[in-house]
């Protein structure tokens, strides 16, 4: 009885950890964050597994946007301080983006 209980607990534990280590199959997604501050995306290059939701948070005292270079894939509205924008990357590839208000600000998400 106790061994069975132990087995069940172990199973639940393993299932639990499987859930938190990015099992896309059961609907859970990874989270990653890019900070916007001092007219820069930090980190400028971020590598994530497919299925990750990247959240950009503006910590600068001036508004910025997050726009994919092809201008179609993703495009945020103007983000004021503490506003955020999220996008879930399902397909592998390199996604270059920039701030359309201050185009010298560039970054990329590499999705594996």
């Amino acid at each position: 009885m106790r061994r069975a209980l132990l087995m069940v607990c172990a199973a639940v534990f393993f299932l639990g950890t499987a859930k938190t280590t990015g099992g896309a199959a059961n609907g859970a997604t990874n989270q990653a964050e890019v900070k916007i501050d001092n007219f820069a995306f930090v980190p400028a290059m971020l590598t994530v597994p497919a299925g990750t939701t990247v959240k950009w948070v503006n910590r600068d005292d001036i508004p910025h946007t997050v726009v994919s270079e092809d201008k179609g894939t993703f495009k945020s509205k103007a983000l004021d301080t503490d506003d955020s924008f999220s996008y879930t990357f399902t397909q592998p590839g390199t996604y270059k983006y920039f701030c359309s208000i201050h185009p010298k600000m560039t970054g990329q998400i590499v999705v594996k």
């Binding site: 007219f39 359309s100 185009p103 010298k104």
Partner: protein, 341 residues
């Protein structure tokens, strides 16, 4: 206190001040390039603009006048025929250090305009009218500018005015008599004005951009004009390379300037950098205006070109308006900055 004071060694300044006082109203007559412009004299003159000196071209020769001798410009031979003012970067909606009340500072700018020695006929607003492209932000600026004693306000957009992607809100308000992306021209007393847009369709890693369609329009617009027509171009981002690392420049401005090369008097008025700056290149004078909202650091003097935080008592000295006067027949264009202190 009118005008910005430029930093200089106190001893040298005292010496120069004495020399200038002795030479007030002197003509600077060394004309190296035979084009009526003494560059060294002009630059010296510009350096003194910060202490209330006017730099005026009369009969093709540069003269410096102390601001308290402004009346001399009003004499028959130097009557100022066209007077207008430029304001810029009101950033309505911004509320952070160093300015949590951009409404007050814009109102102070209007008071300054209404107190100018010669009443300006109209205003040019060189963009970043709003901070976040919000309708209520544009509304507030328009409301405040109604108390300026001017007949008209002409706008061009800044990048903060077109964050909705295609400039929909800006064009809805100000694009009625304009071409494509909001550019247009008009004439006042024989002076030709071009309002240009260099903040749309910006490319990643790039600077301001005019675009092929607008450049083609500029070419056609300038074609019928004689070379002696004074031309004034106003646009948000500087049309010369102030500091490319911070996006302070326009990628294809050289093409526009090539079209303006044949004109004897060209003045380019810009905003965007929230500080006054001047440059003379041949017959083209470039000038950027201060913001009415917040100052920004000098090129390279900070990590980034964000709002510069200064003690409250210093703020208004770093905000300002620009007064422009045109004297008929003498190609004089007096461009004078005043702060809001």
């Amino acid at each position: 206190m009118l005008a910005r004071v430029r930093a200089a060694c106190p001893k040298r300044r005292a010496k120069e001040e004495k020399r200038m006082r002795q030479r007030i109203n002197d003509e600077l007559i060394v004309d190296h390039n035979h084009d009526g412009i003494n560059r060294r004299g002009f630059l010296k003159c510009m350096a003194w603009a910060g202490t209330g000196t006017l730099c005026v071209m009369q009969e093709g020769v540069l003269k410096s006048l102390a601001l308290n001798r402004w009346e001399e410009l009003q004499q028959p031979h130097g009557q100022s025929e066209l007077s207008f003012a430029q304001i810029s970067d009101s950033h309505m909606g911004f509320s952070k250090p160093a300015n949590t009340d951009v409404v007050s500072t814009l109102k102070a700018a209007v008071d300054k305009i209404n107190a100018l020695p010669q009443a300006p006929e109209f205003l040019l607003h060189t963009g970043d009218i709003s901070h976040l492209t919000r309708p209520e932000e544009f509304d507030t600026v328009e409301q405040i500018l109604k108390s300026a004693k001017v007949k008209d306000v002409f706008y061009v957009p800044g990048e903060h005015d077109v964050t909705d992607g295609d400039g929909k809100e800006y064009l809805r308000r100000y694009g009625k008599n304009a071409q494509g992306g909001g550019w247009y021209s008009f004439d006042k007393k024989g002076v030709h004005f071009l309002g240009l847009v260099n903040v749309m369709n910006l490319k990643a890693g790039g600077l301001g951009s005019l675009g092929a369609e607008q450049l083609d329009w500029i070419r056609k617009d300038l074609e019928p004009l004689t070379a002696s027509t004074p031309v004034i171009v106003f646009a948000h981002i500087p049309l010369w390379s102030v500091y490319p690392d911070w996006g302070w420049g326009t990628e294809d401005s050289a093409q526009a300037l090539a079209l303006l090369k044949r004109f004897g008097s060209v003045t380019v008025l810009n905003g965007h950098i929230h500080q006054t700056m001047q440059k003379v290149e041949g017959s083209v004078t470039f000038h950027t205006a201060a913001s009415t909202a917040f100052p920004q650091p000098a090129p390279g003097k900070a990590d980034s070109p964000g709002p510069m935080k200064v003690p409250a008592e210093q703020l208004r000295a770093l905000l300002g308006i620009t007064d422009v006067n045109f004297v008929r027949g003498q190609q004089a264009l007096a461009v004078v900055d005043s702060n809001l202190a």
